[in-house]
């Protein structure tokens, strides 16, 4: 059961990342402006973040959908959603009326602040799904199960059931 929920969590968070990143990729100048609009980062790093974010989003999304390095990707995904929530909440608190730029854009939104609560709620949901994957990284139909097969002697729940052995590998990596 947990493996099925994990699969769902992977597919949801992963596809959101892919869509969010892919929409931003065609217009790098726009994603730089979207980052700048939050007025949180020094101008020296704004273009770097603006150019880096969309590609990182797509890579995280693809890894999550495939189930590759699930736990690590869950950690990065959760941290990013946390940062985005902080950014939106901070814009809201400072009375900024900006398009969140979550899925491209970055121009004025009439009554942008009225959208902030829904955007924060959405990111919270995605953050929780990411956390699920950090706690239970073994999921159904994951690439981890293929690339990092279970050790000899470990019980495998059978073909296609996504025993991934990723947990031990991740622990070593996290050290």
């Amino acid at each position: 059961m947990k493996q099925r929920i994990g699969l769902l969590a992977r597919l949801i968070t992963g596809s959101v990342w892919i869509v969010a990143g892919a929409i931003k990729l065609p217009d790098p100048a726009e994603s730089v402006r979207a980052v700048r609009a939050y007025d949180l980062l020094p101008e020296a790093v704004v273009p770097t973040v603006g150019h880096l974010l969309p590609i990182v989003e797509v890579v995280i999304g693809v890894c999550l959908v495939l189930g590759l390095l699930t736990r690590s990707m869950g950690v990065i995904s959760g941290m990013l959603f946390g940062l985005f929530m902080f950014g939106i909440a901070s814009a809201w608190a400072r009375g900024l009326e900006i398009n969140c730029g979550c899925f491209g854009g970055g121009g004025l939104e009439e009554g942008a602040s009225s959208k902030y609560p829904a955007e924060i709620a959405r990111d919270l949901g995605l953050l929780l799904l990411s956390v699920w994957l950090v706690v239970w990284p073994r999921t159904r139909w994951s690439l981890d199960a293929v690339v990092f097969p279970p050790r000899a002697g470990e019980v495998s729940p059978g073909p296609g059931d996504g025993e991934d052995g990723d947990v031990e590998a991740q622990r070593q990596q996290d050290r």
């Binding site: 990729l25 880096l52 969309p54 590609i55 990596q173």
Partner: protein
Amino acid sequence: MSKRNVNKTAERAARAAALKAEQERKEKRRRLLLIGGVVAALVFVVAAGFLVQNLRNTTGEAATPPAGVVDDYGVVVGDHAAPTTVTIYEDFQCPVCAEFEKEIGEELNAGIEAGTVKVDYRMVSFLDRASGNEYSSRALNAAAVVLDIAGVDAFKAFHDDLFANQPDEGTDGPEDDELIAAAAAAGADESEVRSAIENKVFAQWIENATEQMSVDEVNGTPTVFIDGELAGSTPQEYADAIRAGLG
């Protein structure tokens, strides 16, 4: 069981344990190498993508502004000595801008003619994604060409005409031929503007103007300043503030 047999069994068990430990070491090594390889590949993809995005962003490259702009990106309409300056950031594809123009445009024009106010238009383009055929940037390029070739009055007529006939978001806006016809109607010579409109000669200037808006902490259109002071946040507030200023 003889002593010899006991020894043999123990030896065999030790050998088996050593073999298992060796296998586990190998397995561990294999996993670490694999993880390292996957991480390295991901880092490579991100780095390559980052580089490509950097190269594709031409913002800030040298651009020739159209003749007649003030302060690189401003188009000042009206008597430069007018006591009040209204600065307006607009995108030709922005529906709220069209609404704002409809609300206050005529009164503003009367103020310009009376010499009580001048308008510093800061035209930008970030709404190509809301158009089927990049109307936002093509319209602004055409307006810049009209300014460059036929001057401020023709620009103003062209500007008002485009906002009065704004295409809906998500649809195809007027094609270049229609923009050229509109430019001619605004007072520009058709043969002079055609190639500059078709070749989008002010594309880089438009990129830079839009970036400058962001650097100036203006994050949307329309945004209106009266004598440098932000004049509200909705078209209605802007219009009311301008009326008070025209007073």
